[in-house]
């Protein structure tokens, strides 16, 4: 079977605190910020590889982003993916989730063969969780989001989908799109052999021409939403360290919480 995994390169979690805004241009200063594969997307890669090991499959990873997103694809290859494609073009810049999902879907259509499309449940920079359902809609295929367990059964995918206080057991015919949570697996580290193989594998580069996309639907032009301002939230108040003996601290805490009507 053919599996396509969509991955995004995002600022490293440890570095997220350092994300700063340039007050002049109202944009995010990204220099000197280390990048990683979006953590949930690593789970998506891992799940594709596990399915490959069980059912035999061809795993293609794609990422839309600036040229340095190749790093993320290289890591996916090192983990064991078979093929990597970067969608990079100046006209893709400034995409919102509508434009991003259109571009990804166009690439998936160009790849042509797909049974299962895997994505992370959300990207940790934008936290939108909108790209997965968007891609499924552009492709007119079923979607199953927030999945913590997948089983492939012939032409069928069976999944456990997490809800707030329960989970659903669902199934859909392939091709289908699934977004995964971190509970689904523990992503592997690339092996030495994998790293060497990844170095030797060529990453395919597709531009807007290769995808034959409608330029009105990509990048800023294709985005229905516009970010008009970004700002730093009020810094969290430092609060108060309670003092005294253990017993006094407990009394003080109870008093304070009572005063706030919390208990």
């Amino acid at each position: 079977m053919d599996i396509i995994v969509c991955i995004k390169q995002v600022p490293d979690t440890e570095e997220i605190q350092k994300v700063k805004i340039n007050p002049q241009t109202n944009t995010i200063v990204r220099e000197s910020i280390k990048s990683i594969i979006n953590p949930f997307d690593e789970n998506a890669i891992e799940e594709a590889l596990r399915i490959k090991e069980k059912n035999s499959a061809f795993v293609t990873v794609i990422s839309m982003g600036p040229p340095q997103a190749e790093e993320a694809l290289r890591k996916a290859l090192a983990m064991g993916a078979d093929k990597a494609i970067i969608l990079s073009d100046p006209s893709f810049a400034g995409s919102d989730t509508l434009a991003t999902s259109y571009t990804l879907a166009s690439a998936i259509k160009k790849i042509g063969n797909f049974d299962l499309i895997l994505l992370g449940k959300q990207a940790i920079d934008g936290d939108t969780a909108q790209v997965g359902p968007g891609v499924a809609e552009w492709l007119q295929i079923p979607q199953i989001t927030y999945v913590r367990k997948i089983q492939i059964d012939g032409r069928m995918v069976r999944a456990e989908r997490s809800l707030e206080d329960s989970f659903e057991l669902v199934e859909a015919n392939l091709p289908a799109l699934v977004t995964v949570t971190k509970e689904i697996n523990e992503p592997r580290y690339p092996s030495l052999r994998g790293l060497l193989k990844a170095k030797a594998t060529k990453i395919i580069h597709w531009t807007s021409q290769d995808l034959q996309v409608d330029l009105k639907k990509v990048g800023l032009d294709g985005s229905a939403t516009q970010v008009i301002r970004i700002f730093t939230p009020e810094p969290p108040s430092h609060g108060e360290i309670l003092t005294g003996s253990v017993s006094q601290k407990a009394d003080k805490l109870i008093k304070k919480l009572k005063k706030k009507n919390l208990i």
Binding site: P11, T13, E14, I16, V19, P39, T97, L98, D125, G126, D127, T128, A129, Q130, V131, G132, P133, G134, A136, E137, P142, Q143, L163, E164, D165, S166, F167, E168, L169, A172, N173, A176, Q209, Q212, L215, K216, S223, A224, T225, Q226, V227, I228, I230, F231, T232, P233, P236, S237, G239, E240, I241, L242, V246, A250, D251, L253, I254, L257, L262, I263
Partner: protein
């Protein structure tokens, strides 16, 4: 201005390189110059393909007739036949937006259970669209999308609000993509720009380190998912009894695409973390799995839910659905008590917007103290049993 594309004769060499690139075969050579045929979609691929900059494209300004779209809609979310609290929160913010715009507030209720209608009519809204079909009693992505999109196309609301829940965030992007309109996720504040009737949507990004203001000026409807537990709930006020409009959608189960085989409740002791008003969370400082009983006891006493850091989930001390943080749940209770949790950034982003944060940690340097409203530097094994004891005594003296 309409879309315009033209070939600049002086520059065109008739090389023909644009011809195979055109996805619609809308370019031919005529008298050794490129000629663009009327089936051109103005995609601009040829402009980039031309080495001589001989093709010029001017695109139409985005003019959409936004004035056709009027009214604010709220999508009611039901789980197990019950209206989810976020619906009432959407009704209060929706009322506010509708009043500012001078339009009606409508509630969209899907399914054939009529019992919720009477209850909801008491809230300050103008209209309930009851999309009646038993296939909609349970949430299914495709059927909900179809029912909503059909109605939106007919009624043309300018704003649709959806709860940012596991259902809302599955549904809204599908609806927005089908309508080819803008969607903003997980908003924490909504306002109206009176001049152009734009919805000003404010939301956190980068795990709450940055806030973004987002608008969708050229598209309607403007759709937003709204984070639960941020907006105050609407209260039932009887003055305007909402009119009920019955809609019979045309749906078939085959179109559902995804088959729901079963719905399994997680352990009954697990309260919905995202709905909880009080959360007591335990981290590695507990020392061992058994000590979670201390956290449970405190949570029970306060009528709260149990949370956890990733370290203890990874250690297998507690199931993962308790995890708070970047790769767990984002919570915003009135009171969050972090016990033996260092407060790594990945944990903080999941709970830093809680109203009151209490941290119990024996290390005064632990980062959790940077965001704690009340910090207690103590060994939790001493402090928590004492706290429980005092709370129990206080409760007993009340009864």
């Amino acid at each position: 201005m309409r879309n315009e594309i033209k070939v600049i004769w002086e520059k065109c060499t008739g090389c023909g390189r644009c011809i195979p690139k055109c996805p619609l075969s809308a370019i031919v050579l005529e008298n050794k110059k490129a000629k663009i045929l009327p089936n051109c979609s103005f995609c601009g691929i040829c402009v980039k393909a031309c080495p001589f900059e001989a093709i010029e494209l001017k695109r139409q300004e985005k003019i959409v007739d936004l004035s056709e779209y009027r009214g604010v809609w709220v999508l009611a979310e039901q789980r197990g036949g019950k209206i989810v609290p976020v619906t009432l929160e959407l009704l209060s913010v929706g009322r506010d937006l509708a009043d500012k715009l001078g339009v009606k507030l409508s509630l969209l209720l899907l399914g054939d259970e009529k019992k919720n209608v009477e209850q909801l009519r008491r809230y300050p809204l103008d209209r309930i669209y009851l999309v009646q079909d038993s296939l909609l009693n349970y949430y299914r992505t495709n059927l909900y999308t179809q029912a909503i999109v059909d109605l939106v196309k007919k009624e043309k609301p300018e704003i649709i609000l959806v709860g940012a829940t596991s259902i809302g965030r599955d549904l809204a992007p599908r609806v927005a993509t089908r309508l080819q309109t803008g969607l903003t996720a997980d908003c924490t504040s909504l306002q109206i720009d009176k001049e152009n009737r734009n919805l000003i949507q404010i939301r956190p990004a980068f795990g709450g380190n940055i806030m973004a203001t987002i608008v969708s000026p050229y598209h309607r409807p403007q759709i937003a998912t709204v984070r639960p537990k941020i907006m105050k709930k609407a209260s039932p006020k009887n003055e305007r009894k909402a009119e009920v409009i019955l809609i019979k959608p045309k749906l078939s189960l085959e179109k559902a695409a995804v088959n729901i085989l079963d719905l399994i409740k997680e352990e009954s002791e697990v309260k919905d973390l995202q709905e909880a008003e009080i959360i007591v969370s335990g981290g590695r400082g507990l020392g061992k799995a058994e000590n979670f009983s201390l956290i449970r006891k405190l949570a029970d006493l306060l009528g709260g839910a149990v949370g956890a850091s990733r370290a203890v989930v990874d250690a297998g001390w507690i199931p993962s659905y308790h995890q708070v943080g970047q790769t767990g749940k984002t919570v915003q209770p009135k009171l969050y008590i972090a016990c033996g949790i260092s407060g790594a950034i990945q944990h903080q982003v999941g709970m830093r917007t809680s109203e009151t944060i209490v941290a119990i940690n024996k290390d005064p340097e632990a980062p959790i103290f940077n965001i704690a409203t009340y910090g207690i530097v103590e060994d939790l094994h001493k402090f928590i049993p004492l706290l429980i004891d005092k709370l129990e005594k206080a409760q007993r003296s009340l009864t």
